[in-house]
Amino acid sequence: MFGLANPQKFMAFTRPLQPVLWLLAVGLLAVGTWLSFAAPADYQQGDTVRIMFVHAPAATMGLGAYAALGVASLFALIWRHPLADAAARAAALPGAAFTALALITGSLWGQPMWGTWWVWDARLTSVLVLFLFYLGYMALRASIDDEQKAGRAAAVLALVGLINLPIVKFSVDWWNTLHQPASLLRAGGSSLDPAYLWPLLTMMAAYGMLFGAIWVTAIRTEVTRRRVLSLRARAAMEA
């Protein structure tokens, strides 16, 4: 794994990996979508249950991408690998997009099921805070001109966010039990029928592959971009 910290080795390794990831992502997405529509309609929720297959994997990947961002930031801070910094930078936007997708689809699901677009439920609030963490990371990164300094400052913030995320989650859960909202989520709904489990698992795998494909492509683009920048700088020096 540490051998991949060398940008050249990384580029050589991911050149064949990138199309494989994209193929897997597209294939699994196609199969998962087909399975999602083939699954029977829920006896209570009707066809809206299918939103779950888009919503749940997006929420999982939103959280997973933040973990990837945090770990990449840790590597970038400790070993000062430019590649780890590129990986952190590349994880932020897709992660924020997955989180936003989870929030939007959750809202669309909530409207027919709960009769409201948004409830201040602990889970919804936590995911919204996760989105705000992404926003802060990207805002900090974008507002410092020196790229190296921006990367380092953003890495510190990502790590602080990673440590704080469980605390925020705990405080939001505590706040939720304090307020005792009308329980809209059905209790015991977690035991999923196999008819729904398989499409869900396929979609989870598809989203995982999709994030992997986007991430690897973004890192490769970033490495190439930096190469172009340094080549340009060298050309300007020689001229």
Binding site: A139, K149, A153, V156, I167, S171
Partner: protein, 221 residues
């Protein structure tokens, strides 16, 4: 140690002087409070359940106000480079600055918090609890805020950026602080919430010095 004491006095003097740091923060705090009944309606039965929460919201927002100047001023005129060269480790410098920020902004805000909360309908008997939780909470705001201010060093859009970075991190103290007041209003025991608030502040006191010093070193390059 002597260097730190001198630095701390300097910070306190700077925070108090020049445009009245504490007065300005308290003015902002009370203006926010005054806007609440004007936006949601002045009926006491509607305001009383909101009073503790609104006071905490205003406290959190007012605490972010002067963060922009905390390091940026010294960073721009080179004083921060001199301080970094000095005897005191940068970690303790961050703590000294956060403590001065707390004394100059947080403590005055904590004492105006019950005024705002009671004006909105909080039972007057809860004033001591409001001051206590606001004192603890504003220390947490100052510590976490100092980290945000250190991270935003050298950026072009200080104030708003610090707010976007720092406010999500303010969620636990806001939840526990307003939760303590909400529990007290309901007649429940507020101390578990106060204890959790204290735990958050201790946690922030561990994270801020190291992360803040790392951010300053990075900005100085």
């Amino acid at each position: 140690m002597k260097a730190l004491t001198i630095l701390w006095r300097r910070e306190l003097a700077l925070a108090w002087a020049g445009g009245g740091g504490p007065l300005l923060a308290c003015g902002f705090f009370l203006t926010l409070t005054a806007l609440v009944p004007l936006t949601v309606g002045g009926a006491p039965e509607a305001l009383t359940p909101l009073s503790g929460g609104v006071a905490w919201l205003a406290l959190a927002l007012a605490s972010t106000l002067s963060l922009e100047r905390l390091f940026e001023r010294d960073f721009e005129d080179g004083a921060l480079d001199l301080i970094a060269l000095g005897a005191a480790p940068l970690e303790l410098v961050v703590v000294a600055k956060a403590k001065a920020q707390w004394l100059a902004v947080g403590v005055p805000l904590a004492f105006s918090a019950p005024v705002a909360a009671i004006a909105l309908g909080l039972p007057a008997a809860l004033a001591p609890l409001t001051v206590l939780t606001a004192l603890i909470g504003s220390l947490g705001f100052a510590l976490t805020g100092a980290l945000g201010a250190a991270l935003a060093l050298g950026s072009k859009r200080g104030g708003l950026l610090i707010a976007v970075v720092v406010l999500p991190l303010y969620i636990p103290p806001v939840v526990f602080g307003s939760g303590a007041l909400a529990r007290a209003v309901d007649g429940a025991d507020p101390w578990p919430a106060v204890a959790l608030l204290g735990a958050y502040v201790l946690f922030a006191a561990v994270i801020t010095p190291f992360a803040g010093a790392a951010a300053i070193r990075n900005a100085q390059g």
